[in-house]
């Protein structure tokens, strides 16, 4: 998602000026995506340059409303019709982190997983709590955004669960079978509990 298409979508409702756009944007994304007014005006001027919006005469209060053009509407329709590709997203830092942790000596991978899971779980709880707090009918767009994040967090927790289970079964390649010490990277939870 881009601010560009967000503003176009807002202007599709009717003409608006900068501050109105910013307020509407934050309202529909549940303040999860704070904008400053500068970002709004920069984006608007780019849109005007590309012929997707046009500015209207200034009002008495000195505010300049914008309206969407036909080209803008076409662009917006195209955006809604195009699925978001996974490869477009930024690289997933977490998976890279885990992969590195597994191969780096001296790192307790299980602890990494559990810490992350607790954090994600907590985020999930918070998102759920927000969702619980906003149960008015007009909150639906906001709730759907929250749901998207909930499902992502859930997927992450499930993935972390999966990692944890895989780690239990994980036997690191042993170079020297006689070596008494275990590779430091993996602590098998069952052994650890048995020692308690």
């Amino acid at each position: 998602m881009s601010i560009r298409h967000g503003l176009l979508a807002l202007l599709e409702r009717g003409e608006m000026y900068g501050y109105q756009l910013r307020a509407a944007f934050e309202e529909s994304t549940g303040s999860t995506w704070p904008l400053n007014i500068g970002q709004v005006y920069t984006t608007l001027s780019r849109l005007e340059r590309d012929g997707l919006v046009r500015s209207l005469p200034e009002s008495e209060a000195g505010q300049r409303p914008y309206e969407i053009t036909d080209a803008g509407r076409a662009d917006l329709a195209l955006w809604f019709a195009t699925p978001v590709s996974r490869t477009d997203r930024p690289r997933d830092e977490l998976s890279i982190k885990l992969a590195l942790a597994l191969t780096t000596p001296g790192v307790d991978v299980r602890s990494v997983v559990q810490t992350q899971r607790a954090a994600t779980m907590r985020a999930l709880q918070e998102l759920t709590r927000l969702k619980y707090a906003s149960d008015r009918p007009e909150d639906l767009p906001w709730r759907l955004v929250l749901d998207a994040m909930v499902f992502q967090a859930e997927a992450e927790v499930r993935w972390l669960d999966h990692c944890e289970t895989s780690l239990v079964r994980y036997r690191p390649p042993v170079q020297d079978p006689q070596a008494p010490a275990r590779p430091a990277g993996v602590v098998r939870p069952t052994d650890e509990e048995a020692r308690r």
């Binding site: 303040s31 607790a118 779980m121 907590r122 999930l124 927000l130 859930e154 939870p189």
Partner: protein
């Protein structure tokens, strides 16, 4: 909201072993868990991790091999089966994944069941049960039988039964198991509301999304609590960003 006094459910170093000798299965190994009034605790873990055993212990349906279980400060070991049954019908609400309702009783009779078992008059029990059904959004379906209700409706009736009267502890075992996500969501919403009104809740689930409704999530693996999230602040704190 703090202090051991308002702990509705308190498990201390609870062990539960099924069978003896080499065939022994250790369902729980030294679990300690406290659930306070107004708190919803979710227990997550894969199947076979001891979740259901934990719930059965909390409801007095099963006894620990060692350790102590207290409900509202009352040690369950001190109660005989009659006393445990009385505790269940007065203080504890139980919700299962399925097989929740007696097929021979209508919805309102199912809800009124614990009250009736406790000797509440039929008329009063029915009134309370109808109120509980209204609370879960089924005010008009009281006289239907379970066969005539959808899965979600059945589960709501079960929740109404778990909530009817003055329940302080609600135990839910995968209450959304057989339901679609919307209906499941509604069920959890009801549970959350009840807990916010002052009950203590213990929710067993294997879905993170459902555990997200809890104030605290504990992870159970092979009979051991491995980690948990810290208690959550209020919504206002969350919105202002300080809760994070």
């Amino acid at each position: 909201m703090s202090g051991a006094d308002d702990a509705v459910l308190d498990l201390r170093d609870v062990h539960r072993t099924h069978g003896v000798g080499p065939a022994a299965v250790h369902a729980l190994r030294g679990v300690s868990l406290t659930v306070r009034a107004g708190e919803l605790v979710a227990v997550m873990g894969p199947s076979g991790s001891g979740k259901s055993t934990l719930l059965a212990l909390a409801g007095g349906l099963d006894g620990p091999t060692s350790g102590e279980v207290r409900v509202e400060g009352q040690p369950l070991a001190g109660l005989d089966r009659r006393g445990l049954a009385q505790l269940r019908r007065r203080r504890i609400g139980y919700i299962f994944q399925n097989l929740n309702l007696l097929g021979s009783l209508s919805a309102v009779e199912n809800v009124a069941l614990p009250l009736e078992l406790d000797g509440t008059g039929v008329r009063r029990a029915r009134a309370l049960a109808l109120a509980a059904l209204a609370e879960v959004g089924l005010p008009d379906l009281g006289d239907r039988f379970p066969d005539q209700l959808s899965g979600g409706q059945q589960q709501r009736v079960a929740i109404a039964r778990a909530l009817v009267g003055e329940r302080r502890l609600v135990l839910a075992d995968e209450p959304t198991g057989a339901l679609d996500s919307q209906t499941g969501e509604a069920v959890l919403h009801l549970l959350r509301r009840r807990v916010d009104a002052g009950a203590a809740g213990l929710l067993v689930t294997h879905e993170a999304r459902h555990a997200g409704w809890a104030d605290r999530v504990v992870f159970l693996r092979d009979g051991v609590l491995v980690d948990s999230t810290a208690p959550l602040g209020s919504v206002e704190q969350l919105l202002s960003g300080t809760g994070r």
